[in-house]
Symmetry: D2
Subunit: 337 residues, 4 copies
């Protein structure tokens, strides 16, 4: 960390910053350039809030030079982490596809989709029983009845289940029914929830906040890791930008960027990242080509009659095509699918 003093900072201002840094257990290192003094800080900076020094008189700016996360970093662990959801490995040689409808609607819909995606090649089944919706007047999910349908789908098909958790108090209930917990984009910085899943031992699929940086995603993973749960899968699902043709902007750069920062597996949700079923296949191929360890795809046997997100859901035949295309791209980059 470097403290950059203003050109008009007095010697007393500089000495005060130095003393304050020493009182925080840090060593300091002064240099000058143009009219400015720079105070380099050396020591354990992990818990240091830059704001503590940024408010001192004469300080122009405090610049962090190193990463604020540790357990999630490649420096902490250089070998890729493989997260196991039942018998499925995420982060290994195989690119894993998780698929299913946005919402759990009916038994027939769930069983037909689960069988269909398994037959096409999916390895996990996803579906929402508790739905976060922008409007209080939209369908909010079937709740526990939905979890029961998901469990029945697992019994039928053998596919492990992943579903979204919306609040800490739901963790025990969901853990009885499901094989992995999803943290949705609106909850990436819901620290009470991160804390709760960090204390569970369930695999966690952590979706990037639509407004959050790559570094903030890793800090949210660090919350879970630092509470004792090492089973975190990161999910890029599109960020919010000025572009309105697509629902979100798939930040494809984030895939190789995360790979050079962390040992955790990285998957992509091309359905939310595009918001248009017509773009999902291309986004899926791109994600695997960029190095993603898996995909999370919305599939519905009848998107035209889906209760939510039909516009971005694939039909079962479209999903089967997608799996075929993804396999070829995976092979081209030295992976299986």
């Amino acid at each position: 960390m470097v403290v950059i003093m203003k050109p008009d900072a007095s010697p007393e201002d500089i000495q005060y910053v130095v003393r304050r840094s020493h009182s925080l257990g840090l060593k300091t290192h002064l240099s000058r350039q143009d009219a400015r003094t720079f105070i380099g800080l050396v020591g354990d900076l992990r818990g240091l809030d830059p704001g503590v020094l940024a408010g001192l008189r004469g300080v122009e700016r405090v610049q962090a030079l190193t990463k604020p996360f540790r357990l999630a970093s490649l420096e902490f662990r250089s070998a890729p982490t493989i997260v196991r959801i039942r018998d499925v490995e995420i982060g290994g040689a195989a690119v894993v596809t998780m698929a299913g409808p946005c919402s759990v609607e009916t038994e027939a819909q769930i069983l037909e989709t689960a069988r269909g995606v398994r037959d096409a090649g999916a390895r996990l089944f996803r579906g929402g029983a508790f739905k976060p919706r922008s409007s209080p007047y939209s369908f909010q999910g079937l709740a526990e009845a939905g979890l029961e349908l998901l469990a029945r789908a697992r019994d039928e098909t053998g596919l492990p289940i992943v579903t979204e958790v919306l609040a800490s108090e739901q963790v025990p209930l969901l853990s009885r029914y499901t094989d992995a917990l999803q943290i949705g984009t609106r909850n990436m910085q819901n620290y009470a929830l991160l804390h709760a899943v960090g204390e569970s031992s369930m695999p966690v699929l952590l979706k990037r906040g639509m407004m959050c940086t790559i570094e903030e995603l890793l800090l949210s993973a660090e919350y879970i890791l630092s509470h004792g749960n090492p089973n975190v899968i990161l999910c890029e699902r599109g960020i919010r930008t000025f572009e309105t043709y697509t629902r979100n902007t798939l930040d494809i750069n984030a895939v190789p960027a995360l790979k050079e920062l962390t040992h955790l597996p990285v998957v992509v949700d091309p359905s939310h990242a595009t918001g248009k079923s017509s773009l999902v296949k291309a986004a899926s191929r791109a994600s695997v080509a960029a190095g993603a360890d898996g995909l999370l795809v919305e599939v519905h046997p009848d998107p035209e009659n889906a209760w939510s997100d039909g516009f971005q859901s694939l039909t079962l035949p479209e999903f089967a095509d997608l799996i075929g295309e993804v396999k070829r791209v995976a092979a081209a980059v030295g992976r299986t699918a």
Copy 2:
């Protein structure tokens, strides 16, 4: 709502959309332009998810024409809502300033700040006992001990208290100590939390998500209102943009925009919206000039030694100056302060 068909949609596609709309209880109205058919929908569209129709074959896009919120709208209630926090009215003729430190630290700090901001002219006292922090290694707040200090400050100064709630299960605890609940920017779309405060009768200060639209802010307010709690104050606190000189971008347009959309009071947090104490006064003056009903300002008796956010906190003398400037601007726009 208008369904825009693709140029190559077949007559069967169009008839299917029409039948589906009728089955949802809506009337339809067809017109053509260039090669396209447009299907206007008439009826109760409030609970209709556009995705239900957007996924139908031959549909290019579904365009909403009216606002998705109702209880929060000026059409529902044209007179301004005044929210009372104990004896303080937000949304009336007076511009109300709420002030206090980012974090509750010590008894001495809290009492000195509370007395200082009261003497300068603040009407409410704010301070965080539970702190949402990006890093798990940063200070997370004093929790219940912090609430006790806030209550002591109220006893001493008579200023009502507002503090942040991070999870549904904290609502009863906080309601015992505080006079208003703050929903922070990272929780604006934490629907479990919105639901919980909606079932309470406490006044709620709802901060805009840093990457949420004005419409989404009003939809989150609608969650609270629709669960029975009419006491919602909206807070613009800056949005995330590409600009990095400031911590956030104060969306000053949001103030008059909200005033033409809703009857709820609107306050501005110039401290987070700028992230630099040197810009807080100018942002405060601008907010009041734009029509804000109040301000939420970070003040610390010794920002240089604050445990968090010192770089954006004002000293007590700076805050007294701010109050003086705000009074003059308030008078210029026909308000008191």
Copy 3:
């Protein structure tokens, strides 16, 4: 186009909008929903500025329903356009790679790079002789001396040349030396320049503005097409977002999105879209997997000593690796490279 009237619009307001629309040669079509009147407009809307009606009394909003570009659209021409730069076809079955340094520096650098990229498999050579730089104190390019070096590289290697044009008056000079003109991201909406290249017959590589929408990119292409030049290649080069880990955010969605909107070829610049040489290969594989017709890659024989953009340039051996990887991905999606 639909004119949405306010709930309190008077019958006279509505009649005025109708008469104004008729005077513009449009037919109107009224319907009501909730308390609002909607006036659908039918006729030649291409040149109609929505602002003409949006300012009328009682109007809440005017909503465009169809695309504002025509010559660039798939409705105008459904077969893919193939742009020829000398003997190289962009937009056909082969994925074409254009490569070279950010800036033309010296004869040795240019010739070594041109030979190197040709041997690795590039089909076009790129390099900047006129450089747009944020700071007036940065290197601005070698100007005509740089063009001469580019022409020498073409003589040596047979690779056609593409280079950036910064102003209308440079078009004749550049046309003497180069085989295609590049419009840079900062000039995507420099209409004087679009007009000038539209009147030339040179192939144009039009880079997307870093904060321009997909639709605005197509409107800028429409400027060139409507002035008589059909040889436009679109280039996605990353957009500006809140993410700071990468220089820009590669909008990979734009590749399939453009393919469903236009017949023009689409290439990707992974060097600017990431701003980090370590991410360029992954971004290149992703682009080809998403359907790009080509790549524009910064290569330098010695990035460590490059005069500009060394941090995002590949070495010649890295570029050779990239070509190998891209070939495998291209084959996986049914293309050659």
Copy 4:
């Protein structure tokens, strides 16, 4: 500037960076923290492109610590610059309002507007004769005929004229007719144009690019200043964000931020920054309260029949109201209007 080496950088890598820095005339200064080496650079960094060092082996990042602009900075000149347009001073005690229509349409429209805004209190007249439009099919302006009408308005009213210049070759023509040149938002980084106006002696109203940072705005001002023209007025006109309710987001923070960075006058265009006439007054009051030296307001005698931008134009009576409100706010912040 600090070069941050990767944890695995070798001693040879570090030595190479040091030698390269010395060869650029810089002194170096090494320190270590955690596993990393930091190389501080001291010397004349103004023309140094960080990319020159960022590409060296073993380098993780190069961090600039000081501002890249000089002539525009408060360090270069601490007294506020007052720009004179004929007899009107921008940057002095008085807040100056410039007003007029988006486009020059007819003699009657121009003269009525010019008289009206003068009588209401405007000090300069604005209007577009050359219009940059996203679509090639929209009205492009009256060109020289429009300039003649503007000159006639000046003769009639005594108000100096400001109008937009779109290309370098227009500078001589416009300089014959107008009193100040406006650089529009899409041309803020059109360096050929900045160069041309920098060599002229005309006052320049430089609008911030809708996608450009405060620092980039100052660098574009630096282009003009460094070519010899000191008469630059900066204009905040709204930036592009994810918010769609307004046309742009007025970055009100930019006003005090610019005031702490530069001596140049700062004005605000509330018409483009909101894109809605209903929000223009509030945005104007806010701008003056924040410290703006002037306003640039779109006014039309009959916005309902304006050829462009009617939806964001004020009528003459609305503009007179605005002037009244602005005067009161100006007085409240110690200015005249």
